[in-house]
Structures are given as C-alpha cells and as structure tokens.
C-alpha cells in the first residue's frame, strides 16, 4: 500500500476539485513506477473541495477521510487499484483556470456530437479536452442545465505518459441516460481521432436539468 497527498486545487471559480486533476496527478505517480500503465476505469461517487489523498493498493487512507472514488490501472503485469479520499481540513488552494482547448463544437441532436481539440499531448490536457467537449454538449441540451459533473470512465486504455495527439477530434455518442434522484446521469462513448489516439471508451456525467 502506498499513499500520496495529491497536489490539487480549486481551479478558477469552481467549488470542487476536478476529477481530471485527481486522475492526472495519480497518473503522474503511477507513471514513475509503471510508465507503460494505462488507466482502465475511474469512478467518482462524490465531489470535494478539500484536499485529496491517493491510496494505491490495499489499506485505509492515513488521514481517515471519506472515500470519494476509485479506479484501476493496467500496469502490464496486472491491475493496480487506486482509491481517492477526501483529506479532512482546509479547502484545497485556489489555482488559476486554464484556457479551453476544444473548438468547432457540433452537437448531433441526440445528446452527442463532435469537436476539434488542440492540446499539449499530456494525459491531463487530453482528459480536460474530453471533459470540456462532453460538458459543452450536455450544457447545450436544454435551457437550464447546471452542475455538470464528470463521474466515471469505463473500458478505457488511457496511457499515463504524454502519448496523446496534440491535435485531433472527438466524437461523442450518447448511449444511455437515466434520471436518478433528480440528476440526469449519462453514459457516452468517446472516439478520438489523431496520431496516437487511444481506443474508444465510455464516459459518464451527471447534471441537473431545469430548476
């Protein structure tokens, strides 16, 4: 078991630590020992505005905080479990926002669509572009859409090292949607085009539609 306090923050005006930051910092740590690893799944059960602790393998978080999500990496030698815990204490520090990286958003009228992206080619920049694209597609679905949260990645093969295309396009196909306790939950398939693009995978979001 190994635990790490992640260097995450509240970006821009957000009142939560982005899942993409948590995954990116985790990927950097995993890459130190397993540079060929890929992220396979990630699931967040709640958001937090506090610090985040990563536990790789078995064991409880030393801080005793509440679990906020878990994921799995394929290291090539097997699966490595990651769990994320909220760190009791002060809020995460406020950090600067970053400019958007997608353009040419084109909804398909069925909850999906496509967009182009231009990124640094890192795990974090790629994931940020995907989340930006899917969020924008969700925001465009109705007049009042709020609290759009990235909640899960499933069936992915996302390298932890910077092997992503620096330019390309994303195609998002909405496959499943469910209304659970007043929130719309969606599952979409993301296909990426570009040199070195990862294979298709599923991404889940949650949002509120209406008042």
């Amino acid at each position: 078991m190994a635990s790490h306090t992640l260097e995450v923050g509240l970006r821009g005006t957000r009142n939560y630590v982005q899942g993409s930051q948590i995954l990116a910092r985790t990927a950097e740590i995993v890459a130190r020992e397993h540079p060929g690893a890929v992220l396979v799944t990630a699931k967040f059960t709640r958001i937090t505005l506090l610090g985040v602790e990563l536990v790789l393998g078995d064991g409880e978080a030393p801080s005793g905080g509440e679990e906020i999500g878990r994921g799995q990496f394929d290291t090539g030698d097997g699966r490595l479990q990651a769990r994320w815990f909220e760190v009791p204490g002060p809020e995460a520090p406020r950090i600067d926002d970053v400019p958007g990286s997608t353009s040419g958003l084109a909804p398909d009228g069925r909850g999906g669509g496509r967009a182009d992206f231009a990124i640094a080619g890192t795990f974090e920049s790629y994931l940020a572009a995907v989340i930006e694209c899917v969020k924008a597609l969700h925001a465009g679905r109705a007049e009042r859409v709020s609290d759009i949260w990235f909640t899960a990645l499933v069936g992915a093969r996302l390298p932890v090292t910077p092997t992503y295309p620096t330019a390309g396009s994303l195609a998002v196909g909405l496959k499943i949607e469910r209304m659970v306790e007043g929130r719309l939950q969606t599952l979409s398939v993301v296909e990426t085009a570009g040199d070195g693009a990862p294979p298709a995978y599923q991404i889940c979001f949650s949002c509120v539609i209406g008042d």
Partner: protein
C-alpha cells in the same frame, strides 16, 4: 431468445460491469436492491447488455428503475422476439 438465454446475457453484462459476481444470479435477484449495482454501474450494465444483444432496449428509458432480473429477462425476451 429464451428466458435462459436472456438470463445468461444479463449475467454476462453484469460480469462485464462489476468484474465478478458473488453467488447465483436468478430471476429473483434485484441487481440494485441486492447491492450488485449502484446507479453509475447500472448505466454501464445497460450499455453492456445492449451491446451484447446488439439491440437497443426501447422499454428501458431514462426513468427506468426496475432492476429485478425477472423484469429485465421479460424485456430482453420481448426485444429479441
């Protein structure tokens, strides 16, 4: 598709979703109430089920909440008839 085949397809989708299943899955099993799926998993399960069947299950819309296996078997048998 027979009820047995439908049950097998549901079990396969469940295994794809959660990795492994403790105990038998029967028509009396409730995948959510029995703690096999949470709300996030249920979307992945439905996606895997539709993928495995190669068909959209029109009876399962965004308000669908009944994850009793017997009810799902009914839907799969009807959709594949």
């Amino acid at each position: 598709m027979t009820r047995e085949e439908a049950l097998a397809a549901i079990t396969k989708a469940l295994t794809e979703t959660v990795g492994s299943v403790d105990g038998d899955v029967t028509e009396d099993t409730d995948l959510v109430a029995d703690g096999m799926l949470d709300s996030l998993d249920s979307m992945t399960f439905l996606f895997e089920l539709e993928n495995g069947l190669g068909a959209k299950l029109e009876a399962i819309d965004e308000t669908y909440e009944d994850f009793r296996v017997g009810a799902l078997v009914d839907i799969v048998v009807q959709a594949t008839a």
